[in-house]
Symmetry: C2
Subunit: 347 residues, 2 copies
Amino acid sequence: MAITKKIILCGFGNVGRALARLIDAKQHDLERQYGLALKLLAVVDIDGAAVAEEMGLPPGRLTDFIEDGGAVEKFEGSGHPGLTAADLLAQRKADILVETTPTNLKDGEPARTHFMAAIDNGLDIIAANKGPLVLDYRRILERAREKGVQIRFSAATAAALPTLDVGRLCTAGARIEAIEGILNGTTNYILTRMAQEGCPYEDALQDAQRLGIAETDPTLDVEGLDTRNKIVLIANTLLALDLAPGEVETTGIAGVTPADITAAHEAGKVIKLLGSARLSENGPVVKVAPEALPADHPLAGVNLSEKGISYDTDTMGRITVTGGHSSPTGAAAAMLKDLIHLVKLGV
Amino acid sequence: MAITKKIILCGFGNVGRALARLIDAKQHDLERQYGLALKLLAVVDIDGAAVAEEMGLPPGRLTDFIEDGGAVEKFEGSGHPGLTAADLLAQRKADILVETTPTNLKDGEPARTHFMAAIDNGLDIIAANKGPLVLDYRRILERAREKGVQIRFSAATAAALPTLDVGRLCTAGARIEAIEGILNGTTNYILTRMAQEGCPYEDALQDAQRLGIAETDPTLDVEGLDTRNKIVLIANTLLALDLAPGEVETTGIAGVTPADITAAHEAGKVIKLLGSARLSENGPVVKVAPEALPADHPLAGVNLSEKGISYDTDTMGRITVTGGHSSPTGAAAAMLKDLIHLVKLGV
């Protein structure tokens, strides 16, 4: 007998739709391999929701409808213009909130409201949106603990690269003493191109923008803020800290010159933008900065838009994981994994 | 309230003693972090056992005693000359068998007898010994399933490198389409030295022997048999196969010449001994052979006695994990992780 879990999906952009596609494509595998049936009770977007309490929404057909220019609140007799996530969460008819609205690092909205409503109504949370957690990690986690609610956010900490899984599951029983991560694909792409072609930062950035790897406004990536937000979440989770992003000394890559890269190369090194966390005698040191890694560092070969993270432990030595799609499908696969962990594996 | 689990530890060589040291050093962390108390009910070695049913054996003091030349059957009033693991398992007073006797790939003994006695008496199994599982994977797993017994064997599949965790937990919900692993530190050390110094195979092997990295009889490593045994276990577990080691085409590294390595280098490649498994239209293809990897392959930079494994998946892309101590402590840490997974995380 499969366990059925009812989902409210908030946000139906690239990542939300990729998750709907995955649930559609994987439903037989999920039942067979994990005894898990996922029912899409509602999808909420800016102007309303589609809801199908009994049968669940057809994930493939709904996604087709939206990609053909439709809106969830107009879907096949299931549409409810103006219906909000808070309304739906308060009805307590679902088990899990999946949060894929755009990340907002000013006040975390609308995800923060969704998180709080889910927690207060006893729904577990799977999040791709890192806003509320970056801004207010400890308070949200504590409120969730009080209510017996679980929160998983693999997709917010480098998508399909299993940053938290390796630090939490693969190293269980070992003490993590240091973390180093290449956590942002855009900046790693720019630094790799600069190193491979000797071109200045501005040229590599323009290339990345032309290829769609960097945004038109690349600030969040190139100033190291995305890396900072991820290392804050990872360090808070794995080292039991309560850091706010503003406490993390953050240097981006705009100041890296071809001369820096050449000098590093001549010393047998390569410059990477690292998010790092280290336990020192004076407390934790968490920072973001371009650093010159020796050629035999396990992250030195992580190039272009690939990512990677390395854990130094007391008993297992250093363990490094690299790769994993950064695409919407990669983020959706990370959320599906979180769902399986939560429901079937209890981790 | 901590959960207490009573352990029978079979084999008290380097790995068994490293586990006893870890249990001793980590007991407060385990209670605090996982609510887990481990009680060493018995340690069994060749000529008998030490048993302390009520209080549990003192892991540190027992290890000191053995390392000072003692034998378990003579330990502090707890020694029982001639008492066997089978005797102890049949008493059903413990929860978990930890198997660290030397691996025997002829008939799997004595570990096979221990495995069967544990299964029949309802004890879960944590194994560093890969013998019985390599020889008879499916039958042992099925017998365990019938009896509701769990078996974990991280330490048998590359120690602290989390091969199975990444393939089973970090990629949950994704389909693994191909696996490639550098699974043996000795052969990787030899190939790395050959590549770095242009020396012939025999010189690099002698160096490895002098440093204690290769055994006096290096057959198991250099002929690819250790890699084969590990990829058989990994592929059987993750791809639901039932391969016997004899079915895996296996080529070792003794035939790799400096000319091969130079030719690979000139083509921008590096030769590594890979254990690989791939799902093809005609069924699974599992093999062990030296292969020339392009410089940007995620395992190309895994050098000296380091190991690594790479998974190609349908939805997460390629995920690669490298590193992890190969030492007795690394193997013991992998067993401790298995214990935590089994008892506290249910995975």
